[in-house]
Amino acid sequence: MEIKFHHIAIFTLMLASASCKLDNVKPPSVTLKGQLMYKGTPIGVEYNQVPFQLYQTGYKGNTPITGTFDQDGNYSVLTFNGTYKFTIPGGQGPFQWKELPSGGRDTVNITLNGDQTVNIEVTPYYMIRNTQLAAASGNITAKFSIEKDITDATAKNIQTVSLFVNKTQFVSPADHAAQVDLDGAAIVDPANVSLSVAIPKFTVTQNYVFARVGIRIAGVEDMIFSPVVKLSY
């Protein structure tokens, strides 16, 4: 048979149409999100430092979905419908997570059937309350009160309280332009703490900064923070 152009065209079409099958795996489409909370108040942490683990039961293996909380305590995961267990690894976060009598970490059961918001209730060692941040006469001033939330035998002392200032909205010990510390032992009245630091100079002048205060707790790796505030001057 002589090969004509239409033979090739038909053959190509057939090949192309044979590949028109749908992928058999759907992408994850269900959003699970939420925020770290203590009695309805969000807890601020350092960006990308406090991890969480999400285990899906019923599958072979035991590998969790891991992620970290944002600096305002938010998390979100894009995944599939199913039954999950949510936990935070030991020693992470400026708060206590319930331990089981058997020795393991407690988990939160989450049954996903469509998008869902699950706030994570934890007990922080301390909370920063009534934070007032202001920019005035070349300084950033912070006034706040410290509330001790764990007072039993597992209570921990304050190592330092710090005011961090940065030019972008990421404000943390690792990412700041100005910082001032106050030693935990030097705090006279926890209900009335104030810190002040000069507004840092930036290469490109801007008339605003972002700031927040944090508490470093003795023997705990992660700091707890007040919400980030944008200050214009």
């Binding site: 020693g91 020795g103 790796e221």
Partner: protein, 648 residues
């Protein structure tokens, strides 16, 4: 008729030829595989199996590339020099590896190892030697002891990184039943692994030769040196673990009870004393060359029998296939044997200034006088004069003579008005004020203001392990300097630390002063001078770039203070130099500038400035979860009895 006869004969012959038994026909011994019983009947063949096991010894710092064995995936495709970098002690002058000084923190799985295929091969080797009947008893007991030494050595390596792991001391066999529960073992206690290393060393030390000229195979001294170091590690984890209670697991898989500390320190001290007393052979500090810095550098270069300091090494041989590219990668740019291979590992000012002065005091490298004016030095090496000889033995200072020429390290011309004239390359000339003549305005070895790679970016090059042999920097030849795993100097420091922790400060001073005298610090320390800070400092001065810093900081539980995630300011850098917990989060440099001010008495002299290399944008942050490397989810999925590390 004759034809039929011939055909009949051929058929008969053919038929007869096929009269072999089928089983014989199929059962041909393979020519490409040597069966186990044959291998383990001949000492030469056993040695070749053992050679493979020696090659697979896993070191933290290693001069050659680490990708030879796929099990060690954490070090895959990593050039040897990078295993000496990091931790604020050096700067990587290589475009591909700035991540070392730009990352904010180490991921939890950094430094992890889980090489059970190697453990299995070691167990198999031990089983096979034990079962062998044709080896003479002397060979057999030495091979067995070497197999057990390598196994203990790997368990020591794994416990340093992972804490307690399943302690597998026999070969496991899978029965194809689909049930693997019998092959799943939980993690042992961290102290159990250390106990295993110590007891194995005690058990085999008498079976190994006491021969200081035997460096690449296990000897009695190697077993004792391993025991001393392991016991010291266990002791310090027990003692200092109390300062980081978060770094422990309730089952003891991580963390050792404080009550066990004295026992471990005693064992460590006794093992070290056995080497020092000479019962394992005549080891001593290397004291051969009159120049103390050259002498210190030669410890790592001298492979002859004169070197009675090195105890156990990874040996190399040039032009014979076992070489490494450490010298190729780290040689000075201006004297390099290769156009685009040089200068990658640049020691930091943090390390350089930590070497003490000859009067046993600490001071930063002086760049300004008391009233804040710059100091003008006539010679580039003047600022470093009067210091511990190990400084110039470990680090190449500016204007050091290497192979055939003086290295050329300077950052540019400093003018009277404070401006700096420099360029991005020594061949890119510029004119000085009041002149139109184009001249060289930056050192051939850098440091350039633009941070050119392969030249120093701290003002220093590494000297330890750098091979001065002709051709050692060529990619074709490379270097065969050996890597010292255990040496007598470290044994003395281990003894000093163990003695100090046991309250025997007099003995501690005695051991430490020997190491210090060799470095030119001839004013001895008194018993009362020995402090924790002194111990930490002495190990840094003696053992930097030998793969100790991470594990030392970990076992003393000060890693999270030294690498605390805060930027290191110039004030941080130059203060508290003697403190063990001094911040060391960013590698600083010290740039020499030529002062240009014709008519001024200081014209042509050198001014030094502390500079944080522009590529250092990260801050080292050692998190609590970094104390023990992550056991991967794949391992935990395959064996649910494995529990997770703390803080992960």
């Amino acid at each position: 008729m004759k034809k039929i006869y011939t055909i009949a004969m051929i058929s008969v012959l053919l038929g007869a030829g096929s009269c072999k038994k089928d089983s014989d026909f199929l059962n041909v011994p393979p020519k490409s595989v040597v069966p186990t019983d044959v291998v383990f009947s001949d000492p030469a063949l056993v040695l070749s199996v053992l050679g493979d096991l020696y090659n697979r010894v896993y070191d933290f710092s290693s001069l050659d590339n680490m990708d030879l064995y796929p099990e060690n995936s954490d070090k895959k495709n990593v050039a040897g020099w990078t295993t000496f970098a990091d931790f604020g002690e050096s700067f990587p002058s290589d475009n591909g590896l700035y991540s070392i000084v730009q990352n904010r923190s180490w991921s939890y799985d950094t430094w992890s190892t889980w090489n059970y295929p190697y453990v299995r091969d070691l167990n198999l080797f031990i089983d096979n030697v034990t079962a062998s009947t044709k080896l003479v008893p002397a060979d057999k007991s030495r091979f067995l002891a070497e197999g057990r030494f390598l196994r203990a050595s790997y368990y020591f390596e794994i416990v340093k990184r992972m804490g307690g792991v399943p302690l597998i001391t026999k070969t496991l066999t899978y029965d194809n039943s689909g049930n693997v529960v019998g092959l799943q073992f939980p993690r042992s206690k961290e102290s159990d692994i250390y106990d295993f290393v110590i007891s194995e060393a005690e058990a085999i030390k008498g079976l190994l030769p006491s021969d200081p000229t035997e460096k690449s195979r296990a000897t009695k001294a190697a077993a004792l040196a391993m025991e001393a170091r392991a016991a010291l590690y266990a002791g310090s984890i027990a003692k200092y673990g109390a300062t980081t209670p978060q770094v422990s697991l309730p089952g003891g898989e991580v963390g050792i009870p404080a009550s066990m500390a004295p026992g471990y320190y005693t064992k460590g001290l006794n093992a070290a004393k056995e080497i020092i007393s000479g019962s394992a052979g005549g080891y001593k500090l290397y004291q051969v060359l009159p120049n103390l810095s050259d002498n210190f550098a030669a410890i790592f270069l001298d492979k002859s029998s004169v070197n009675q300091e090195s105890i156990w090494v990874e040996d190399f041989k040039a032009l014979a296939g076992k070489v490494h590219s450490f010298t190729t990668n780290d040689q000075p740019y201006s004297v390099s044997d290769e156009a685009s291979d040089a200068g990658r590992l640049d020691p930091s000012l943090n390390l350089v200034q930590s070497f003490e002065k000859l009067d046993n005091t600490f001071a930063p490298i002086a760049t300004k006088d008391g009233s804040g004016n710059p100091i003008y030095y006539a010679d580039q090496q003047d600022p470093f004069a009067g210091r511990d000889a190990r400084l110039a033995g470990t680090v190449m200072l500016p204007h050091f003579f290497w192979k055939t020429a003086y290295i050329d390290i300077w950052g540019g011309y400093l003018l009277a008005n404070g401006n700096i004239i420099s360029s991005d390359d020594a061949t890119h000339y510029a004119a000085l004020p009041g002149s139109t003549t184009q001249i060289q305005v930056v050192g051939k070895d850098g440091p350039t203001p633009t941070g050119e790679v392969l030249r120093t970016q701290t003002g220093f090059y590494v000297r330890k392990y750098l091979d001065p042999t002709t051709g050692s920097g060529r990619r074709g030849r490379q270097s065969d300097v050996n890597f010292i795993r255990y040496r007598y100097g470290e044994v003395l420091l281990n003894a000093a630390e163990a003695a100090y922790e046991l309250g025997q400060t007099g003995d501690a001073a005695l051991y430490m002063n020997q190491v210090r005298a060799r470095a030119g610090l001839t004013t001895p320390l008194a018993a009362g001078d020995i402090t924790f800070d002194r111990i930490v400092h002495e190990r840094r001065a003696e053992l930097s770039f030998e793969g100790h810093v991470l594990f030392d900081m970990k076992r003393w539980r000060i890693a999270n203070k030294v690498w605390d995630g805060n930027p290191e300011s110039l004030v941080d850098l130059t203060s508290n130099i003697a403190s063990a917990t001094k911040r060391n989060t960013q590698p600083w440099g010290l740039y020499p500038y030529k002062y240009y001010n014709p008519g001024n008495p200081n014209d042509g002299k050198w001014v030094f400035r502390e500079v944080l290399p522009s590529n250092v944008t990260g801050v080292l942050n050692f998190r609590i979860g970094n104390y023990y490397s992550q056991i991967s989810d794949a391992i935990i999925s395959a064996n649910p009895k494995i529990i997770r590390q703390p803080n992960q």
